[in-house]
Symmetry: C2
Subunit: 239 residues, 2 copies
């Protein structure tokens, strides 16, 4: 029996988790478009009003799901980040951990893709609404870089983790459409991508290349709607 020092999750947290897990199951079974909040509430055994109390709509359930994947990923990468100091090994480990955690949702991701591909959709990984999950994911890459032996000029220390996360989004896009057994092609791409990124980071110390790195990063923040806010927020935190 839990004592006061070992609190069990509050009832409200349990209900929130129940609704989220029920929604994810129904999204997978019926598809995102055909699943209603009413059906989710009924299946979870809560009132419709109660479901809306925890999640203002289907989109918020997806944000809850993104946050959950991000939290599971942050926990799963501890093992590799506490052990490895080689940048390529750290990055490959982080990408592999993501593929492991996301594997159960692969089929859902393929049919859900059309809802998330539009950068102006709140469900896009680049949207302002996804900022919380995106910030958590970028923080992982910040730690991948900071805890490695790689020498990084200080002017690029804020930029590179965001570019590394962007390349992870490239892997996610590839993974969505991957039909190879055991998603082995995505796993190979993770290894190759980690090697390529590590080479890119090593080259970024050449002074002649830095303007290009800045320009790629600027292009990306200028043209993806939610990104500029994240960059501003991370600057505010740094001050």
């Amino acid at each position: 029996m839990p004592t006061e020092n070992e609190p069990r999750p509050a009832k409200s947290e349990q209900t929130r988790t129940l609704i989220l897990e029920t929604a994810m199951r129904l999204f997978q079974e019926l598809g995102y478009d055909k699943t209603t909040m009413r059906a989710i509430a009924k299946e979870a055994g809560v009132s419709v009003g109660n479901a809306y109390y925890y999640f203002a709509g289907k989109e918020h359930l997806i944000q809850g799901f993104y946050d959950r994947i991000a939290a599971e990923h942050q926990a799963a990468v501890r093992e590799v980040l506490d052990r490895e100091t080689d940048l390529e090994a750290r990055l490959a480990g982080v990408l592999r951990a993501w593929l492991d955690i996301a594997a159960p949702y692969h089929e859902f991701a393929a049919q859900f893709f059309k809802n998330a591909a539009d950068p102006e959709s709140p469900l896009s990984p680049f949207s302002p609404e996804s900022e919380h999950a995106r910030e958590a994911a970028i923080a992982v890459h910040r730690e991948v870089l900071a805890g490695s032996k790689a020498k990084v000029p200080s002017e690029l220390a804020d930029i590179l983790p965001e570019l590394m996360w962007l390349s992870q989004m490239g892997l996610v896009l590839y993974w969505v459409f991957d039909r190879s057994p055991g998603l082995e092609r995505s796993r190979r791409l993770a290894e190759r991508g980690a090697r390529l990124t590590t080479r890119g980071v090593a080259l970024a110390r050449f002074r002649v290349l830095r303007p290009l790195v800045h320009e790629v990063h600027e292009l990306f923040t200028d043209f993806l709607p939610g990104m500029a806010q994240t960059v501003t927020a991370s600057k505010r935190r740094a001050e």
Copy 2:
């Protein structure tokens, strides 16, 4: 009245064009998924058998459409490629010309996107089925580079046009979701992308960077299904 030296398009070519244009109109009005070959034939005033004689299915109509856009683009870029020798101006002109030609199909592209986003779909720009249109598009970039004053190491002369085309596909992806008036954000991205690519090409002459350029290109040909074939075919032609 046309003489023997000025042949008018053969009847079969006219019928083919009529079917293609009717299909594109119906795709835009009804959506790709809901438009049947039967409806296209009826609207074009030809028999269903006749429609299938020219296009083996809806997918072939899309390939015909891709080829047509590529041919119109090849004609439209002549003006800028015959006049400019500056790489950035040549590339910006080529990208602007593409946005002009594709503008009437913008709404269709947004709803069609989900059919073309899967790299294993025959309708993907990376598929073996799209090779003809892709080859034509890469040939434009080969000419953009070859006719410019930019100095390019011979070992990269085959690779850079494919990477330039890949960055054009990035612009196309952005354009699909662009809702700015007059698609002005896509136009600005075309300018910025041309500048960035030009800088990248200028840096590619540094020997220290060439392994990275090769590795990016290899990654791209290894992981996109149709690309390896295009690369093999272009090597065969060069021999």
